[in-house]
């Protein structure tokens, strides 16, 4: 029952909020914060009971749902999904705390905002926990609805257009995925009886053309979600128009569904097709790394800049997944976690800067280090994490991805490494423009972070530094799952060229 | 018997009705033309019933008449209420939904 309880908690909170009056804004916010904090606490308790060395899914629950179609309500977690559920449940309370007032002034009420937020959290937990492809699909698509309203209802600028663009892009991918799911279903009913159980589906024998097509259906959906070049253009618009909190969930968690799907429903489900498409995907990933970084350098708007850095980071994650080595895969999963933290920190601080100044153009800031030192340092540390400074969490994952890729695809790894030079540029340019230099007129009296904001950012920064020095707890959870993925895909790590100590 | 002439008549009546529905604008006339088409169909049913020597065609003709009667009730009611509110029985004027 563990996972169902965790998943249902936010939904329950949403129901309670729905019972409150529209005018009780503070109570609604507090209730939302309390619910999400409880959810996080429950997830931590569950994670502590997770047995690291046991293979396969844990906390498994299975209830028959639509028997004629063989659909089950079936959930369970392995190391990868546990890490991502932890990421989701910690980010939601942080986002609520950080953007205490961003729900106000939207098209819908404050109440609706938090109901959408909590429903979204349930969906996020569900999408990572589902072990039934049909259930996964339901969550995958249903997730779009709250996000659509969160962007279109509470964002800024061209929020409607951005929301529609996001929705259409995602629906298009979802449709291709649905076709593939139906295809899988037909094959499974011929071979092993009607089922959507992911572990059962992995045993199917599919001829190579069909496998390739089915794989592409899934992969394109995921490549849109975790935007891979050239399917990325919805992300900057959405990130720019959404509230910072929504952007954090969008980039920090929702996009991870894409990379998570690539592992669970790409590599594990279609090992042969993954192998066939690996060169293409690695190429796209490398292009994403460089392309995202260069475009980030050229951005004038701080939020689209962060969005483009994420495209570069998702390139790294995808490269790590398809390098088909345990280092690459573990690194990619750890990267998903770390990217969640560093992007959250960046968006939070950027959001505070924007709400204080009333502009998201980088050039409107300047000299913030003198005016608002705590805010400036938070942004700087988040930026350093984004450029993968050793000692901060992203470095470990980025380096694992690069090392894992190098052992199989040296050229791709070397080109990808150029990304670390560009990363220094895309972080230090906004740092210089916004934090350094003389204080821009009009910014002299901006207030520094208040207690609530410090409480929101402190745990994230602590995690960024802590996991940089001691990533073992996360890696211990991820490693067995990553190893299992590589084994299922039929790969073994390339051995070092020099075998023993033959001096 | 030879059904040809009956069927020709039925087809002729149907065509007159169809053309009337398409070209006329007065709602009453359009309505009458629909009745004409229904009756053309009835004629064809009766003809075939007679030709095959069973009653099914005639039963359907009766059924059609009942349906047509209901239709007349509802249709005329609509036409009258439209006429009352707009002082016109032209079908083209009642195109609010297309805008």
């Amino acid at each position: 029952m563990t996972l169902t309880i965790i998943g249902a908690l936010p939904l329950f909170g949403a129901l309670l909020i729905a019972l409150l009056g529209n005018s009780q804004k503070e109570n609604i916010k507090k209730l939302a914060l309390l619910t999400t904090a409880l959810t996080f606490a429950a997830t931590v308790v569950a994670a502590l009971n997770f047995e690291i060395d046991r293979p396969g899914f844990q906390f498994v629950e299975k209830y028959s749902w639509i028997p004629p179609l063989g659909v089950n309500f079936q959930v369970g977690v392995d190391g990868i999904s546990l890490i991502l559920i932890l990421l989701s449940t910690i980010l939601v309370p942080v986002v609520i705390l950080a953007g205490w007032n961003e729900s106000e002034g939207g098209r819908f009420s404050v109440k609706t905002f938090y109901i959408l937020m909590l429903v979204l959290e349930t969906m996020m937990i569900g999408v990572f926990a589902a072990t039934d492809v049909f259930l996964f699909y339901i969550f995958f698509e249903a997730m779009l609805v709250p996000v659509y309203f969160l962007i279109g209802g509470y964002g800024s600028g061209a929020r409607q257009a951005a929301a529609v663009k996001f929705l259409l892009y995602s629906l298009f991918g979802g449709l291709l995925m649905l076709a593939s799911i139906i295809g899988l279903y037909v094959i499974s009913s011929n071979q092993i009886g009607r089922t959507f159980d992911i572990e059962a589906l992995q045993t199917l024998k599919i001829d190579s053309l069909t496998e390739n097509l089915l794989f592409l259906g899934f992969f394109i959906a995921f490549a849109i979600k975790a935007p891979l070049w050239p399917l990325h253009t919805w992300l900057p618009d959405a990130a720019k128009s959404a509230t910072p909190g929504t952007s954090i969930l969008l980039l920090g968690v929702l996009d991870k569904v894409g990379t998570f799907g690539m592992i669970r429903y790409g590599v594990e489900l279609f090992p042969n097709a993954s192998k066939t498409f690996t060169p293409l995907i690695i190429t796209l990933a490398v292009i994403s790394i460089i392309y995202g970084a260069i475009l980030a350098i050229g951005q004038k708007d701080i939020e689209s800049l962060i969005a483009f850095t994420s495209i570069s980071h998702f390139g790294f994650i995808t490269m790590g997944i398809f390098a088909m080595t345990t280092h690459g895969n573990s690194g990619a999963t750890l990267y998903m976690l770390n990217h969640g933290f560093s992007t959250a920190a960046l968006f939070m601080t950027a959001g505070w800067m924007i709400s204080r100044r009333g502009s998201s153009t980088i050039a409107d800031f300047g000299g913030l280090q003198r005016v608002t030192p705590i805010l400036a340092w938070s942004f700087f540390i988040a930026g350093l994490s984004s450029l993968a400074l050793p000692g901060l969490s992203s470095f470990v994952s980025e380096f694992l991805v690069l090392v894992g890729t190098y052992t199989r695809y040296p050229v791709a790894a070397i080109i990808g490494t150029i990304g670390i030079i560009l990363a220094a540029l895309y972080i230090l340019i906004p740092v210089q423009k916004a934090l350094h230099g003389p204080t821009t007129p009009g910014n002299e009296n901006l207030p520094d972070l208040n207690k609530r904001e410090i409480i929101a950012i402190a745990p994230i920064i602590a995690l960024i530094i802590g996991l940089g020095f001691y990533p073992k707890p996360a890696l211990d959870v991820i490693n067995p799952a990553a190893k299992a993925t590589i084994t299922k895909a039929g790969f073994t790590d390339p051995a070092p060229v020099v075998k023993g100590g033959d001096k | 018997m030879n059904p040809t002439n009956y069927l020709y008549l039925s087809a002729l009546l149907f065509s007159i009705g169809a053309v009337g529905v398409i070209v006329r604008r007065n709602a009453i006339v359009v309505f009458m033309c629909i009745e004409l088409m229904l009756n053309a169909a009835n004629l064809a049913f009766v003809t075939f019933a007679r030709m095959n020597g069973n009653l099914e065609g005639q039963v359907i003709a009766f059924f059609t008449m009942v349906v047509a009667a209901c239709e007349v009730v509802v249709g005329l009611a609509i036409i009258v209420s439209i006429y009352r509110s707009r002082r016109s029985a032209s079908v083209d004027d009642a195109s609010l939904l297309s805008r």
């Binding site: 080595t325 050793p390 350094h436 230099g437 | -």
Partner: protein, 628 residues
């Protein structure tokens, strides 16, 4: 052997730095004293470890400490572990010793700055990172320190970042260092793919089995890393701008310690380079180019700090050159590094002292005749000067002389070219340093009337005096009885290579001293009676190029920055027009066709009836045709 003390080297200053940052203004009153004490305590631990090491048998001298398992994925195992051997202890003593002196110096130097506490927090952070760099037992641990010192350097160069050009200088330094880090990253990847390990011991053990191609590639990538951190050609352009930082920073980071990290990296990777002669040749060539490059820039700079920075670049060129000669050169490279640490840090602090007395004027043409007003600074700076140009028996004489000798000993044409270049470098060094001396301390007074030159207070000149003693004595102490060469041999010369002598040492010494005399004489002739307080503008094209740092920034701008900016704007347009354009195009097409289809839905019942009729007729017609 293991030791449990090593962690304090890194943990103490790191803790102090974090404390000073987190406490904020609350620590303003005592922050500088606390940081200085912490730095001093690491020095005392260093001395203690050094004495303990000296008392152990040669093969027992290296100690390690494993802290925890850092990264463990499959066969990629990296421990957070520290290694203190003869090589690292040399650095530890230099870093903590010079570092502590500079902490003391900064207490007074920065006393008027509102952010003095933050400055000391950065300094402590630098000490921690630099110690981690030299103590890490694997390339990945080294990498953490490597980037840590880069960050410290970034923060300190940009310490007064409210001036836009200082902030730009900081960014430039970090980005160019990142280019070097690119090399280090790739080198580590090659190491892991080839040896399955990234620790120094693990690689050294297996180095015999690797192909020369892999080792050469790894060596070249390590060299790239070294050029970034040590401001070597072609990644040298950031060092001059880095002088934007407060002068104690220039002394500590950009003269004595951080910029020498490249030399440390190559020396530490001796097992790779010794097996990759081509990579070694590249190291030598880079060293030669840089030592001349830096020296030439040094002759044309009027900013005292930039002249010293160019000199640093050139001196590190000597060290890199020496490391390129393998086991014959490593010890001399490190020896020069240590003596250079003393005399260059001393001279930078001297420059700081001059600036302190001259209201932050840095242009040497506005100095002149300061010896009368700043006797202590003049003496300490002068001792450093004698050391750097290599006058016997000052420190630089022993170390630089040995490097020139090693270069000649490479033998054949190569030896003559490299040795000759090193000698030429010595002439130019003597020239530009004499120029600095003359323009600053001797000759006529050329400063503005409102300047009031005065000697610096005790807390500033005391560290300078200590460093001056080092400039005098360190060379002989390290050299006598081959003390340092023997000390370092277990790390860098395990196989006891035969060292051939191409020229007898006495000949090289005579040549080197002659070079010094030539350089000094030219400078004396040219600058003895300098009167002008403005730089002459009617100079030849070479001087102009040297004043523009031999066009290094222009070259970077032309080759990387402009094309990069063009690429960025081109890609921005592509993303907007082509990729997003396609997406929006799909949307527009859909809307357009929908608009067309909408015309069919006119809302007139008879139109629908007609369509139904046509449809029915079509179906009937089809059936008729089919059944025909």
């Amino acid at each position: 052997m293991t030791s449990s003390n090593l962690v304090y080297f890194v943990a103490l200053p790191l803790f102090s730095s974090a404390l000073l940052m987190l406490l904020g203004r609350k620590a303003d009153k005592w922050g500088h004293v606390f940081a200085t004490l912490v730095s001093a305590s690491t020095f005392f631990i260093g001395v203690f470890e050094f004495l303990a090491m000296r008392d152990r048998a040669v093969e027992m001298r290296a100690v390690t400490q494993k802290l925890f398992t850092w990264i463990s994925v499959g066969d990629f195992q990296v421990d957070a572990a520290l290694l203190l051997d003869q090589l690292s202890i040399s650095f530890v003593l230099l870093i903590t010793g010079v570092g502590t002196l500079i902490h003391v110096y900064s207490i007074t130097y920065m006393s008027h700055d509102r952010d003095r506490r933050r400055f000391f927090a950065y300094l402590n952070f630098f000490i921690a990172s630099m110690l981690l760099l030299v103590l890490g037992d694997s390339y990945l641990n080294l990498y953490v320190g490597w980037e840590g010192v880069g960050l410290a350097s970034y923060l300190l160069i940009g310490f007064w970042n409210q001036k836009p050009e200082y902030a730009t200088a900081a960014k430039k330094a970090f980005v160019m260092n990142r280019v070097g880090d690119f090399g280090l990253s790739i080198a580590i990847m090659i190491a892991f793919a080839t040896f399955g390990s990234v620790s120094f011991a693990g690689i050294e053990e297996k180095v015999g089995g690797a192909s020369e191609t892999a080792l050469t590639a790894m060596g070249l990538m390590l060299l790239l890393a070294a050029t970034g951190k040590s401001a070597q050609f072609p990644l040298q352009a950031w060092l001059g701008d880095a002088m934007a930082g407060p002068t104690p920073v220039s002394a500590l980071i950009h003269a004595a310690t951080m910029v020498t990290a490249g030399v440390y990296l190559i020396t530490r990777s001796n097992f790779v380079f010794d097996a990759a002669p081509n990579a070694q040749l590249a190291v030598v060539i880079i060293g030669v180019i840089t030592l001349l490059f830096g020296a030439i820039i040094g002759t044309a700079k009027d900013d005292i700090k930039k002249a010293l920075a160019a000199s640093t670049m050139s001196q590190i060129g000597y060290m890199i050159l020496a490391t390129g000669f393998g086991p014959a050169g490593y010890a001399f490279a490190i020896m020069h590094l240590l003596t250079h640490g003393f005399f260059k840090a001393g001279m930078f602090l001297g420059a700081g002292s001059v600036m302190h007395g001259m209201s932050d004027e840095v242009n040497m043409r506005r100095y002149g005749g300061l010896a009368k007003f700043m006797p202590i600074t003049t003496i300490t700076f002068g001792l450093g000067y004698l050391a750097i140009i290599g006058v016997p028996p000052f420190a630089g004489y022993y170390s630089k002389d040995k490097i020139i000798e090693t270069a000649f000993n490479a033998g054949g044409l190569q030896g003559i070219i490299f040795g000759g270049a090193a000698l030429l470098g010595a002439i130019i060094t003597a020239f530009y340093m004499t120029r600095v001396m003359l323009l600053t301390f001797f000759g006529n007074k050329r400063w503005a009337d409102d300047a009031h030159p005065h000697e610096s207070p005790f807390l500033m000149w005391a560290p300078m005096a200590v460093l001056a003693v080092g400039s005098v004595a360190s060379g002989y102490l390290l050299y006598s009885g081959k003390a340092f060469v023997t000390w370092l041999a277990p790390v860098v010369d395990k196989h006891k290579h035969e060292h051939v002598e191409f020229l007898p040492p006495i000949v090289v010494s005579i040549l080197a001293v002659t070079a010094v005399v030539i350089g000094v004489s030219i400078a004396l002739l040219k600058y003895r009676g300098e009167q002008a307080s403005e730089a002459p503008s009617d100079v030849n094209i070479f001087t102009r190029a040297a004043r523009r740092d031999l066009l290094q920034d222009d070259a970077n701008e032309f080759m990387f920055m402009r094309p990069g900016q063009k690429l960025t704007s081109a890609l921005l347009a592509t993303d907007e027009k082509v990729i997003d354009g396609t997406v929006r195009g799909v949307g527009a097409t859909m809307l357009g066709s929908a608009r067309g289809m909408r015309k069919l839905q006119s809302g007139y019942v008879r139109n629908y009836a007609l369509l139904i009729l046509i449809g029915a007729l079509l179906i009937l017609g089809t059936i008729w045709v089919v059944t025909l």
